[in-house]
Symmetry: C2
């Protein structure tokens, strides 16, 4: 056991025994270094490990504090559960699970930030690919043009010109939509949350893919609903027969899916399967919440269809954003909520009143006047290349038995490790070396996918990235 692991275990034990109470500040890094006679670096590693375990949290300008839920939080990441493993081939049990994955996700994100780590674990695209200079120019021009903004002009559904531009892009890609259906939201996150709230209530059961993008699980968790996971094929997408069986067995309030470039599997459902899925759900009057945030990041020749394309009953609530393709920190997303439009617009008003104006108008101006398509062609080419490079190197560096997904778009790779490897242990060992990965358990409400990781390939492929991937492979080989 490494020195920093020993220190982290000591502090964990102290919290468990109540020496440090919930909310209490633990020793500063300098104090701990003196008290334990170890280097600053060792303490930093130990505290990072404690943070990733959910035992402490940092507060700005204040230091490290014991998390309120620390005692409870110990369980999922602690060594005693390290060898519990889920088999990929085993179908998910037909039992709805209550959901609490957000702690692990937030802690992973914090680790990336706190450690300036190689961001294979990040869910976000490399921001240096965004056309910042152009977008900023539009934002600044708007600030000069408009002396002031009246909140009353910004009420939902959102800025009319931005709505028009979004509708125009759909139409140009052969997906005509009614601009009057669009509601602008704070990123796809809010669109998904409001969509789920519009169609289901606390205690309801919601069908999700398995593995599923954890933002879906967050939405379910936030509203006190239950998730039932449906087997999902890495190439074909959600198993429609399995879903039909679930629907026969119990009441499903909604089904949440990512038919295009699913996070983490990267598949693109065929038109035929999309149609079957829409028809199955429509036959039972079950709304579908479609997360289509990667719609512009396809590797094929044309933008794929959506569930919306096949929806004749207004049961598809289609959610998307500019956060993956244009800029994430503007936080502009939208929903096309079908027959639930009135409820969704009202929930938007209740949730955050309005979406800030300047970002909306700046993106509308950019979309109308600038080279969004040129930008997208470049980004797609970069991601397609980097997907190939990372897949090849994972297969070279990682232990025998490792398998990788074949993404059809987006910027994440799903890696299945030999079954003995616990991805939480790999996550922690990697973090201590300044590398992050996305542990597979984030993608399930039932602690499945323990020997899977998600890797982000949006960042430039540098010697440092290659060395980090090699290190990851060595760590995995040691654990196999």
């Amino acid at each position: 056991m490494k020195l920093y692991e020993k220190l982290a275990d000591e502090i964990t034990e102290a919290v468990r025994r109540g020496v440090f109470a919930a909310g209490e500040r633990i020793a500063s890094v300098r104090q701990a270094s003196q008290q334990h006679g170890v280097s600053i670096k060792t303490v930093l590693h130990a505290y990072a490990l404690l943070e990733s375990r959910g035992i402490v949290e940092t507060r700005p300008q204040s230091g490290y504090f014991v998390r309120d839920a620390a005692a409870k939080a110990l369980a999922p990441a602690a060594p005693q559960s390290a060898h519990k493993s889920a088999r990929k081939s085993a179908p998910p049990p037909p039992v709805p699970a209550t959901v609490d994955v957000s702690r692990l996700v937030l802690s992973t994100l914090r680790s990336i930030r706190a450690h300036d780590a190689v961001p294979f674990g990040s869910p976000y695209p490399d921001p240096s690919l965004f056309p910042w200079r152009r977008i900023n120019q539009y934002a600044n021009a708007i600030a000069r043009r408009h002396a002031s903004w009246n909140l009353i002009d910004d009420l939902p559904p959102g800025n009319p010109e931005l709505i028009r531009q979004i509708a125009r892009r759909y139409a140009e890609n052969g997906l005509p939509v009614d601009p009057g259906e669009i509601v602008i939201t704070l990123g796809a996150t809010e669109a998904i949350n409001l969509s789920l709230q519009a169609v289901a209530k606390p205690g309801d059961t919601v069908a999700v893919e398995s593995p599923t993008y954890y933002a879906m699980l967050h939405a379910i968790e936030r509203l006190g609903m239950r998730a039932i996971e449906v087997a999902t094929h890495p190439v074909d997408g959600i198993d429609i027969d399995a879903l039909a069986k679930v629907i026969e067995r119990q009441k499903i309030a909604a089904c949440m899916v990512m038919p295009n470039f699913q996070n983490p599997l990267g598949f693109q459902m065929s038109d035929e399967r999309k149609r079957q899925l829409v028809e199955l759900l429509a036959a039972h009057d079950i709304p579908a919440i479609e997360n289509d945030v990667y719609q512009e990041l396809y590797f094929g020749d044309t933008r794929p269809s959506t569930l919306k394309t096949f929806d004749t009953k207004g049961l598809v609530l289609h959610c998307a954003s500019f956060s993956k393709s244009l800029t994430a920190s503007y936080r502009i997303g939208w929903a096309l909520p079908g027959r639930y439009r009135a409820q969704l617009e009202k929930l938007k008003f209740l949730n955050t009143l309005t979406t800030p104006s300047v970002p909306q108008v700046a993106l509308a101006d950019y979309l109308r006047q600038d080279g969004y398509d040129r930008h997208l062609r470049h980004v797609r080419k970069v991601y397609r290349q980097q997907a190939r490079i990372m897949s090849a190197l994972v297969l070279r560096f990682f232990p025998v038995g490792t398998r990788v997904s074949t993404p059809q778009g987006g910027y994440v790779l799903w890696v299945e490790l030999p079954a003995r490897i616990d991805s939480m242990r790999l996550y922690q060992a990697a973090l201590a070396r300044g590398i992050t990965v996305g542990p597979g358990t984030m993608f399930s409400a039932r602690d499945a996918f323990r020997h899977f990781i998600r890797l982000n390939y949006s960042y430039p492929w540098t010697a440092q990235a290659e060395a980090a991937l090699k290190t990851l492979g060595e760590l995995a080989t040691e654990m196999a």
Copy 2:
């Protein structure tokens, strides 16, 4: 009956009879003008009335559509209930009410926008008073300085420098707070929503003031909770004895109040009463959600204390924003959630992921470097003067028996009309003349305050504003 009222009634009747189904487009303004042989202006008036009644809604570039809930929506605003009236002196019944006031509020806001009306009905401050030029300069400088933003740097609790500036202002006003407690939100709206979600669950009962600011009712409605209204004195604030009786009688999950410059009453609770309220709630372990958005807009010499000042148990969740005092469309608010900090931060992450960065950094720069206090001194002086002018003119123009509040801060006046006047009728009659008011029923979940209106005095006092107030007074006199 005016021509436009007749046309609106005809269409209302057609919707009631199902001639126009929910979601259907009604005739365009031009078509209706030809079909009915009336002027475009008459049709516009009729459609505005239908919109304010909640029967139709506009969609950008599409026209007017019958609202899904139109049949249900007819009831509250339709003539048959026009003479139902609530007496101010009657205490609220001790029965929790389910809440649905957001439709009326949204429709009022839309009317203001659609008709470019004299905005006495607006809940927002005059945006021309905000220091736009300076704030825009900071935002532009930031866009030049930062090539790009990484979403991962923006995770909750929010930008550390903005958090520090907010804490500094509290400290300078004698209200020391721990910066580590602050969580940045999308305006106070999100802070209030997340606070309520952190402490209560669907079906719970929440105590509110009576009248109460409707954003409180929205938060309760959004989460499927129930509101119980507690008698509230126009000068002293919530009746603490009445609240104690409510608490004895039933389980209260939270209490939502505005101790400073309550919207709509404008009172400032005394330190003694604030302390009593905190102690009563603490004795029963009931969290208090304190909406302090008007904290900087006091008419006295110093910034008033808050419930937080008297909180020793971490039971006060204090919510505030810059939307009333600095800029509304940046949508920057915050919460000081006491012992619920961990839950609140997590809920923020689940609800909207992050708050956009540029507005946060721009406000932090403005607060650090610029004349916020000078700006506030000016705004306070303007509001204090305009409160006096409007109060005097309401008493001059309105019918005998009209009474007005004496705001201690903020920018709204609460007007009690003679009991026979239905403020929804006044609202509609005023709207037809290009004037908006806030109908009193927005401030209650039980349809109370039917003969009250709220007036906004933040806008410059012009001849047009005075004429509009005179017209309002004449309409009220006709109805009395």
